[in-house]
Protein backbone atom coordinates (compact mmCIF):
# COMPACT_ATOMS: atom_id res chain seq x y z
CA UNK A 1 0.00 0.00 0.00
CA UNK A 2 1.45 3.42 -0.89
CA UNK A 3 2.58 5.69 1.91
CA UNK A 4 -0.16 7.85 3.35
CA UNK A 5 0.20 11.46 2.19
CA UNK A 6 0.73 14.01 3.44
CA UNK A 7 3.03 12.52 6.07
CA UNK A 8 1.86 12.73 9.67
CA UNK A 9 4.68 15.16 10.42
CA UNK A 10 3.35 17.49 7.71
CA UNK A 11 -0.13 17.39 9.21
CA UNK A 12 1.30 18.35 12.56
CA UNK A 13 3.30 21.21 11.06
CA UNK A 14 0.14 22.45 9.35
CA UNK A 15 -1.84 22.29 12.58
CA UNK A 16 0.88 24.22 14.44
CA UNK A 17 1.07 26.81 11.68
CA UNK A 18 -2.66 27.48 11.91
CA UNK A 19 -2.66 27.78 15.67
CA UNK A 20 0.46 29.90 15.85
CA UNK A 21 -0.02 32.22 12.91
CA UNK A 22 -3.79 32.51 12.65
CA UNK A 23 -5.49 31.67 15.92
CA UNK A 24 -3.06 32.73 18.66
CA UNK A 25 -2.62 36.33 17.46
CA UNK A 26 -6.38 36.88 17.76
CA UNK A 27 -6.50 35.81 21.40
CA UNK A 28 -6.10 38.27 24.27
CA UNK A 29 -3.65 37.31 27.01
CA UNK A 30 -5.24 34.76 29.31
CA UNK A 31 -6.50 31.22 29.57
CA UNK A 32 -7.20 30.48 25.89
CA UNK A 33 -3.96 31.98 24.60
CA UNK A 34 -2.02 30.03 27.22
CA UNK A 35 -3.78 26.76 26.41
CA UNK A 36 -3.17 27.35 22.68
CA UNK A 37 0.53 27.77 23.36
CA UNK A 38 0.52 24.50 25.35
CA UNK A 39 -1.28 22.77 22.46
CA UNK A 40 1.27 24.09 19.94
CA UNK A 41 4.10 22.75 22.10
CA UNK A 42 2.41 19.37 22.39
CA UNK A 43 1.93 19.08 18.61
CA UNK A 44 5.59 20.00 18.04
CA UNK A 45 6.58 17.34 20.59
CA UNK A 46 4.57 14.70 18.73
CA UNK A 47 6.16 15.75 15.44
CA UNK A 48 9.68 15.49 16.90
CA UNK A 49 8.79 12.11 18.36
CA UNK A 50 7.74 10.82 14.95
CA UNK A 51 10.94 12.20 13.44
CA UNK A 52 13.44 11.07 16.10
CA UNK A 53 12.14 8.23 18.23
CA UNK A 54 12.98 5.31 15.94
CA UNK A 55 16.66 6.26 15.72
CA UNK A 56 16.84 6.90 19.48
CA UNK A 57 15.25 3.55 20.25
CA UNK A 58 17.71 1.72 17.98
CA UNK A 59 20.67 3.40 19.67
CA UNK A 60 19.22 2.75 23.12
CA UNK A 61 18.69 -0.90 22.27
CA UNK A 62 22.37 -1.26 21.33
CA UNK A 63 23.54 0.42 24.53
CA UNK A 64 21.25 -1.72 26.68
CA UNK A 65 22.34 -4.86 24.86
CA UNK A 66 25.97 -4.03 25.59
CA UNK A 67 25.23 -3.35 29.28
CA UNK A 68 23.05 -6.40 29.88
CA UNK A 69 25.13 -8.72 27.72
CA UNK A 70 22.20 -10.00 25.70
CA UNK A 71 19.86 -9.18 22.86
CA UNK A 72 16.33 -7.99 23.55
CA UNK A 73 13.69 -5.31 23.11
CA UNK A 74 14.17 -1.76 24.32
CA UNK A 75 11.25 -1.70 26.77
CA UNK A 76 12.02 -4.93 28.60
CA UNK A 77 15.78 -4.35 28.65
CA UNK A 78 15.28 -0.85 30.04
CA UNK A 79 12.93 -2.23 32.67
CA UNK A 80 15.53 -4.85 33.63
CA UNK A 81 18.19 -2.16 33.92
CA UNK A 82 15.86 -0.09 36.10
CA UNK A 83 15.35 -3.12 38.32
CA UNK A 84 19.11 -3.68 38.64
CA UNK A 85 19.62 -0.05 39.64
CA UNK A 86 16.89 -0.32 42.25
CA UNK A 87 18.12 -3.51 43.85
CA UNK A 88 21.79 -2.51 43.77
CA UNK A 89 22.82 -4.97 41.06
CA UNK A 90 24.64 -2.13 39.34
CA UNK A 91 26.46 0.75 41.01
CA UNK A 92 24.92 4.17 40.44
CA UNK A 93 28.48 5.40 39.89
CA UNK A 94 29.10 2.91 37.05
CA UNK A 95 30.45 5.05 34.19
CA UNK A 96 28.67 3.02 31.52
CA UNK A 97 25.38 3.47 33.34
CA UNK A 98 25.91 7.21 33.68
CA UNK A 99 26.73 7.52 29.97
CA UNK A 100 23.66 5.51 29.02
CA UNK A 101 21.33 7.48 31.28
CA UNK A 102 22.75 10.79 30.12
CA UNK A 103 22.29 9.86 26.45
CA UNK A 104 18.77 8.53 27.04
CA UNK A 105 17.78 11.72 28.82
CA UNK A 106 19.33 13.89 26.09
CA UNK A 107 17.41 11.93 23.44
CA UNK A 108 14.10 12.24 25.27
CA UNK A 109 14.67 15.95 25.81
CA UNK A 110 15.42 16.39 22.09
CA UNK A 111 11.83 15.25 21.60
CA UNK A 112 10.05 16.81 24.57
CA UNK A 113 11.91 20.08 25.04
CA UNK A 114 15.05 20.61 22.92
CA UNK A 115 15.75 23.95 24.61
CA UNK A 116 16.36 22.32 28.00
CA UNK A 117 19.76 20.81 27.17
CA UNK A 118 22.43 23.47 27.27
CA UNK A 119 20.15 25.82 29.21
Amino acid sequence: MPEIKPAATILLEAAVKFLEEELAPTLPAGYFRFQTRVTINVLNTVRRELELRAAHAAAERERLSAMLGRAGEVEEMSAELAGRIRDGGISIDDPGLRTHVRQSLADTLAINNPKWVGR
Binding site: V42, S78, R86, L109
Partner: protein, 344 residues
Protein backbone atom coordinates in the same frame (compact mmCIF):
# COMPACT_ATOMS: atom_id res chain seq x y z
CA UNK B 1 -21.80 26.36 36.69
CA UNK B 2 -19.94 23.57 38.38
CA UNK B 3 -17.20 24.58 40.74
CA UNK B 4 -15.25 22.13 42.80
CA UNK B 5 -18.06 19.57 42.82
CA UNK B 6 -21.09 21.72 43.63
CA UNK B 7 -23.43 22.80 40.84
CA UNK B 8 -24.97 26.18 41.49
CA UNK B 9 -25.50 29.14 39.21
CA UNK B 10 -22.94 31.93 39.15
CA UNK B 11 -25.68 34.19 40.49
CA UNK B 12 -26.28 31.95 43.48
CA UNK B 13 -22.56 31.58 44.06
CA UNK B 14 -22.15 35.35 44.03
CA UNK B 15 -25.07 35.78 46.42
CA UNK B 16 -23.62 33.30 48.89
CA UNK B 17 -20.20 34.92 48.62
CA UNK B 18 -21.77 38.33 49.33
CA UNK B 19 -23.44 36.89 52.42
CA UNK B 20 -20.17 35.27 53.51
CA UNK B 21 -18.29 38.55 53.23
CA UNK B 22 -21.04 40.36 55.16
CA UNK B 23 -21.06 37.69 57.82
CA UNK B 24 -17.32 37.28 58.36
CA UNK B 25 -15.80 40.58 57.33
CA UNK B 26 -18.52 43.21 57.29
CA UNK B 27 -21.67 44.30 55.46
CA UNK B 28 -22.89 44.82 52.83
CA UNK B 29 -20.43 42.49 51.03
CA UNK B 30 -21.54 43.46 47.52
CA UNK B 31 -19.30 41.64 45.03
CA UNK B 32 -17.55 43.23 42.03
CA UNK B 33 -15.36 41.73 39.31
CA UNK B 34 -15.67 38.11 40.40
CA UNK B 35 -13.13 36.14 38.32
CA UNK B 36 -11.94 32.59 38.50
CA UNK B 37 -8.15 32.64 38.38
CA UNK B 38 -7.49 28.90 38.51
CA UNK B 39 -9.62 25.85 38.77
CA UNK B 40 -9.27 22.11 38.98
CA UNK B 41 -11.19 19.11 40.16
CA UNK B 42 -10.32 19.66 43.79
CA UNK B 43 -9.77 23.37 44.30
CA UNK B 44 -10.28 26.80 42.74
CA UNK B 45 -9.02 30.34 43.26
CA UNK B 46 -11.13 33.43 42.66
CA UNK B 47 -10.41 37.14 42.64
CA UNK B 48 -13.09 39.65 43.63
CA UNK B 49 -13.66 43.04 45.21
CA UNK B 50 -16.29 43.53 47.89
CA UNK B 51 -17.95 46.51 49.51
CA UNK B 52 -17.21 46.46 53.22
CA UNK B 53 -18.61 49.45 55.11
CA UNK B 54 -18.55 51.59 51.99
CA UNK B 55 -14.96 50.78 50.95
CA UNK B 56 -14.13 48.52 48.01
CA UNK B 57 -11.67 45.87 49.17
CA UNK B 58 -9.65 43.44 47.03
CA UNK B 59 -9.93 39.79 48.06
CA UNK B 60 -8.95 36.27 47.04
CA UNK B 61 -11.26 33.30 47.62
CA UNK B 62 -9.78 29.82 47.87
CA UNK B 63 -12.18 26.90 47.67
CA UNK B 64 -11.41 23.24 48.17
CA UNK B 65 -13.78 20.55 47.01
CA UNK B 66 -15.61 18.90 49.88
CA UNK B 67 -15.65 15.65 47.98
CA UNK B 68 -13.50 14.21 45.23
CA UNK B 69 -15.30 13.04 42.10
CA UNK B 70 -13.25 9.83 41.92
CA UNK B 71 -11.22 8.30 44.76
CA UNK B 72 -7.51 9.04 44.34
CA UNK B 73 -5.42 5.92 45.02
CA UNK B 74 -2.46 8.09 45.96
CA UNK B 75 -4.34 10.44 48.27
CA UNK B 76 -2.44 11.15 51.45
CA UNK B 77 1.03 10.42 50.12
CA UNK B 78 1.81 14.10 50.11
CA UNK B 79 -0.09 15.47 53.10
CA UNK B 80 -2.45 18.20 51.99
CA UNK B 81 -3.93 20.58 54.51
CA UNK B 82 -7.64 21.23 54.68
CA UNK B 83 -8.75 24.76 53.82
CA UNK B 84 -9.03 25.62 57.51
CA UNK B 85 -5.59 24.20 58.32
CA UNK B 86 -4.11 26.07 55.35
CA UNK B 87 -5.65 29.28 56.69
CA UNK B 88 -4.34 28.60 60.20
CA UNK B 89 -0.82 28.15 58.87
CA UNK B 90 -0.99 31.50 57.10
CA UNK B 91 -2.33 33.16 60.25
CA UNK B 92 0.57 31.72 62.24
CA UNK B 93 3.01 32.76 59.52
CA UNK B 94 1.83 36.37 59.57
CA UNK B 95 2.04 36.37 63.36
CA UNK B 96 5.59 35.10 63.02
CA UNK B 97 6.60 37.98 60.77
CA UNK B 98 6.36 36.05 57.50
CA UNK B 99 4.78 37.82 54.49
CA UNK B 100 1.76 35.62 53.84
CA UNK B 101 -1.74 36.56 52.74
CA UNK B 102 -3.82 37.88 55.61
CA UNK B 103 -6.80 35.60 56.20
CA UNK B 104 -10.03 37.59 56.49
CA UNK B 105 -12.51 34.72 56.74
CA UNK B 106 -12.59 30.95 57.12
CA UNK B 107 -15.77 29.63 55.51
CA UNK B 108 -18.12 27.46 57.51
CA UNK B 109 -21.23 25.38 56.86
CA UNK B 110 -23.69 28.29 57.10
CA UNK B 111 -21.92 29.94 54.16
CA UNK B 112 -23.19 27.23 51.79
CA UNK B 113 -19.95 27.18 49.84
CA UNK B 114 -17.21 24.54 49.63
CA UNK B 115 -14.61 24.57 52.40
CA UNK B 116 -12.40 27.58 51.88
CA UNK B 117 -11.23 30.93 53.05
CA UNK B 118 -10.98 34.55 51.98
CA UNK B 119 -7.71 36.49 52.11
CA UNK B 120 -6.65 39.99 51.16
CA UNK B 121 -5.42 40.28 47.59
CA UNK B 122 -1.84 41.51 47.23
CA UNK B 123 -0.90 43.43 44.07
CA UNK B 124 2.26 42.42 42.24
CA UNK B 125 3.71 39.87 39.88
CA UNK B 126 3.40 36.14 40.45
CA UNK B 127 4.57 34.75 37.11
CA UNK B 128 7.96 33.13 37.63
CA UNK B 129 9.28 33.84 34.14
CA UNK B 130 8.61 37.56 34.44
CA UNK B 131 10.21 37.82 37.86
CA UNK B 132 13.24 35.84 36.68
CA UNK B 133 13.81 37.55 33.34
CA UNK B 134 12.00 40.86 32.80
CA UNK B 135 14.29 43.91 32.88
CA UNK B 136 11.85 45.76 35.13
CA UNK B 137 12.51 43.24 37.91
CA UNK B 138 16.29 43.64 37.85
CA UNK B 139 16.29 45.68 41.04
CA UNK B 140 13.96 43.25 42.78
CA UNK B 141 16.10 40.30 41.70
CA UNK B 142 19.14 41.82 43.38
CA UNK B 143 17.49 41.49 46.81
CA UNK B 144 15.16 38.53 46.46
CA UNK B 145 17.55 35.69 47.31
CA UNK B 146 18.42 37.44 50.58
CA UNK B 147 14.75 38.06 51.25
CA UNK B 148 14.11 34.34 50.75
CA UNK B 149 16.77 33.55 53.33
CA UNK B 150 15.25 35.87 55.91
CA UNK B 151 11.70 34.68 55.23
CA UNK B 152 12.65 31.00 55.40
CA UNK B 153 14.43 31.54 58.70
CA UNK B 154 11.18 33.03 60.03
CA UNK B 155 9.09 30.13 58.69
CA UNK B 156 11.45 27.66 60.32
CA UNK B 157 11.06 29.52 63.63
CA UNK B 158 7.28 28.96 63.71
CA UNK B 159 6.18 26.87 66.66
CA UNK B 160 5.01 23.40 65.55
CA UNK B 161 2.98 23.11 68.75
CA UNK B 162 0.69 25.86 67.46
CA UNK B 163 0.07 23.84 64.28
CA UNK B 164 -0.51 20.30 65.61
CA UNK B 165 -2.19 19.13 62.41
CA UNK B 166 1.06 19.44 60.41
CA UNK B 167 2.41 16.04 59.32
CA UNK B 168 6.06 15.29 60.10
CA UNK B 169 7.90 13.63 57.25
CA UNK B 170 11.49 12.50 57.46
CA UNK B 171 13.65 12.37 54.34
CA UNK B 172 13.23 8.60 54.44
CA UNK B 173 9.45 8.92 54.48
CA UNK B 174 9.50 11.44 51.64
CA UNK B 175 11.67 9.06 49.62
CA UNK B 176 9.38 6.12 50.39
CA UNK B 177 6.47 8.22 49.12
CA UNK B 178 8.24 8.71 45.79
CA UNK B 179 8.75 4.93 45.42
CA UNK B 180 5.10 4.41 46.29
CA UNK B 181 3.95 6.71 43.51
CA UNK B 182 6.34 5.24 40.93
CA UNK B 183 5.32 1.68 41.85
CA UNK B 184 1.63 2.51 41.76
CA UNK B 185 2.04 3.14 38.03
CA UNK B 186 4.57 0.36 37.54
CA UNK B 187 6.82 2.92 35.84
CA UNK B 188 10.39 1.78 35.23
CA UNK B 189 12.87 4.42 34.12
CA UNK B 190 16.60 3.90 34.73
CA UNK B 191 17.25 7.65 35.09
CA UNK B 192 14.61 7.92 37.80
CA UNK B 193 15.77 4.77 39.59
CA UNK B 194 19.28 6.20 39.63
CA UNK B 195 17.98 9.33 41.33
CA UNK B 196 15.95 7.41 43.89
CA UNK B 197 18.94 5.17 44.76
CA UNK B 198 21.21 8.21 45.02
CA UNK B 199 18.79 9.80 47.47
CA UNK B 200 18.62 6.57 49.51
CA UNK B 201 22.41 6.46 49.70
CA UNK B 202 22.80 10.13 50.66
CA UNK B 203 20.05 10.84 53.20
CA UNK B 204 21.11 13.72 55.49
CA UNK B 205 22.41 12.59 58.86
CA UNK B 206 21.38 15.33 61.26
CA UNK B 207 18.35 17.20 60.03
CA UNK B 208 16.94 20.11 61.97
CA UNK B 209 13.20 19.46 61.90
CA UNK B 210 11.00 22.51 61.75
CA UNK B 211 7.81 23.76 60.20
CA UNK B 212 8.51 23.77 56.46
CA UNK B 213 6.58 25.49 53.69
CA UNK B 214 6.91 22.55 51.34
CA UNK B 215 6.58 24.42 48.05
CA UNK B 216 8.66 27.56 48.58
CA UNK B 217 9.79 28.69 45.14
CA UNK B 218 9.58 31.23 42.38
CA UNK B 219 6.07 30.79 41.06
CA UNK B 220 4.61 30.74 44.57
CA UNK B 221 5.39 34.30 45.55
CA UNK B 222 4.26 37.80 44.69
CA UNK B 223 6.95 40.38 43.95
CA UNK B 224 7.08 44.11 43.29
CA UNK B 225 9.61 45.83 41.01
CA UNK B 226 10.94 48.10 43.72
CA UNK B 227 10.51 46.05 46.89
CA UNK B 228 11.00 42.44 45.84
CA UNK B 229 9.05 39.77 47.71
CA UNK B 230 5.68 40.93 49.02
CA UNK B 231 3.97 37.65 49.81
CA UNK B 232 4.52 33.90 49.94
CA UNK B 233 1.66 31.81 48.53
CA UNK B 234 0.47 28.20 48.41
CA UNK B 235 0.87 26.96 51.96
CA UNK B 236 -1.31 23.89 51.53
CA UNK B 237 1.46 21.30 51.66
CA UNK B 238 3.22 22.81 54.67
CA UNK B 239 4.47 20.21 57.12
CA UNK B 240 7.23 19.35 59.57
CA UNK B 241 10.54 18.26 58.09
CA UNK B 242 14.18 19.00 57.46
CA UNK B 243 14.44 22.81 57.29
CA UNK B 244 16.93 22.58 54.43
CA UNK B 245 14.21 20.99 52.29
CA UNK B 246 12.80 24.47 51.66
CA UNK B 247 16.17 25.92 50.62
CA UNK B 248 16.90 23.02 48.28
CA UNK B 249 13.49 23.09 46.60
CA UNK B 250 13.91 26.81 45.97
CA UNK B 251 17.10 26.08 43.97
CA UNK B 252 15.62 23.42 41.66
CA UNK B 253 16.34 24.51 38.09
CA UNK B 254 12.73 24.31 36.92
CA UNK B 255 11.85 27.15 39.28
CA UNK B 256 14.43 29.41 37.66
CA UNK B 257 12.01 29.81 34.74
CA UNK B 258 14.88 30.37 32.32
CA UNK B 259 16.66 32.88 34.54
CA UNK B 260 20.40 32.46 34.88
CA UNK B 261 20.71 32.55 38.66
CA UNK B 262 20.37 29.40 40.78
CA UNK B 263 17.88 30.70 43.35
CA UNK B 264 14.57 31.08 41.53
CA UNK B 265 16.37 32.45 38.50
CA UNK B 266 16.86 35.66 40.48
CA UNK B 267 19.72 35.24 42.95
CA UNK B 268 22.74 33.41 44.28
CA UNK B 269 23.01 30.60 46.81
CA UNK B 270 25.55 32.73 48.69
CA UNK B 271 22.97 35.49 49.24
CA UNK B 272 20.31 32.97 50.26
CA UNK B 273 22.57 31.18 52.75
CA UNK B 274 24.09 34.38 54.20
CA UNK B 275 20.68 35.89 54.86
CA UNK B 276 19.38 32.64 56.33
CA UNK B 277 22.39 32.42 58.63
CA UNK B 278 22.07 36.04 59.71
CA UNK B 279 18.36 35.67 60.45
CA UNK B 280 18.54 32.27 62.14
CA UNK B 281 21.88 32.37 63.91
CA UNK B 282 22.59 28.95 62.45
CA UNK B 283 25.06 27.91 59.78
CA UNK B 284 23.97 26.47 56.45
CA UNK B 285 25.82 23.46 55.06
CA UNK B 286 25.77 23.83 51.26
CA UNK B 287 26.13 20.06 50.81
CA UNK B 288 23.04 19.49 52.93
CA UNK B 289 21.10 21.96 50.80
CA UNK B 290 22.49 20.32 47.66
CA UNK B 291 20.99 17.01 48.78
CA UNK B 292 17.57 18.66 48.96
CA UNK B 293 18.04 20.39 45.63
CA UNK B 294 18.84 16.98 44.11
CA UNK B 295 15.92 15.38 45.95
CA UNK B 296 13.75 18.25 44.75
CA UNK B 297 14.66 17.35 41.14
CA UNK B 298 13.60 13.75 41.73
CA UNK B 299 10.42 14.78 43.50
CA UNK B 300 9.43 17.18 40.71
CA UNK B 301 10.16 14.41 38.16
CA UNK B 302 7.77 12.12 40.05
CA UNK B 303 5.12 14.85 40.15
CA UNK B 304 5.45 15.28 36.36
CA UNK B 305 5.21 11.51 35.97
CA UNK B 306 2.08 11.45 38.08
CA UNK B 307 0.42 14.18 36.05
CA UNK B 308 1.24 12.34 32.86
CA UNK B 309 -0.10 9.00 34.06
CA UNK B 310 -3.15 9.98 36.08
CA UNK B 311 -5.45 9.53 33.12
CA UNK B 312 -4.78 5.82 33.31
CA UNK B 313 -6.40 5.84 36.75
CA UNK B 314 -9.29 7.94 35.52
CA UNK B 315 -8.88 10.09 38.61
CA UNK B 316 -8.89 13.09 36.35
CA UNK B 317 -10.31 13.78 32.93
CA UNK B 318 -7.69 14.15 30.21
CA UNK B 319 -6.27 17.67 29.98
CA UNK B 320 -3.75 19.13 27.54
CA UNK B 321 -2.06 21.11 30.27
CA UNK B 322 -1.63 18.19 32.67
CA UNK B 323 -0.51 15.76 29.99
CA UNK B 324 2.02 18.32 28.71
CA UNK B 325 3.50 18.48 32.21
CA UNK B 326 3.83 14.68 32.02
CA UNK B 327 6.33 15.22 29.21
CA UNK B 328 8.53 17.29 31.52
CA UNK B 329 9.70 14.34 33.63
CA UNK B 330 13.15 14.18 32.02
CA UNK B 331 13.94 17.86 32.58
CA UNK B 332 14.57 17.59 36.33
CA UNK B 333 16.23 14.19 35.82
CA UNK B 334 18.73 15.89 33.48
CA UNK B 335 19.23 18.66 36.04
CA UNK B 336 19.72 16.03 38.77
CA UNK B 337 22.46 14.29 36.81
CA UNK B 338 24.27 17.57 36.15
CA UNK B 339 23.95 18.55 39.80
CA UNK B 340 25.49 15.35 41.19
CA UNK B 341 28.18 15.34 38.50
CA UNK B 342 29.02 18.99 39.23
CA UNK B 343 28.06 20.00 35.72
CA UNK B 344 25.21 22.21 36.93
Amino acid sequence: MAHAGISISLEEFSARLTAAVARHIGPPGTIFDLQRLTGGATKSTWSFDADVAGARNPFILQLASSHSPVPDPLAGITPHLTAEEDARVMIAAVRGGVPAPRVRAILGEPDGLDPGYITERIPGESLGARIARDDRFAKARSVMASQCGTILAAIHRLDPAELPFLTPQSAQQMLAAQYQIVDHYGFRLPALELGLRWAAENLPKNPRNTVIHGDFRNGNLIAGEEDGIRCILDWEIAGIGDAMYDLGWLCVKTWRFGGRNPVGGFGSREDLFAAYEAASGLSVDPAHVRFWEAFGCIRWAVICLQKGLRFTDATEPISIEQSAIGRRTEEPLWDFLNLIEDRA
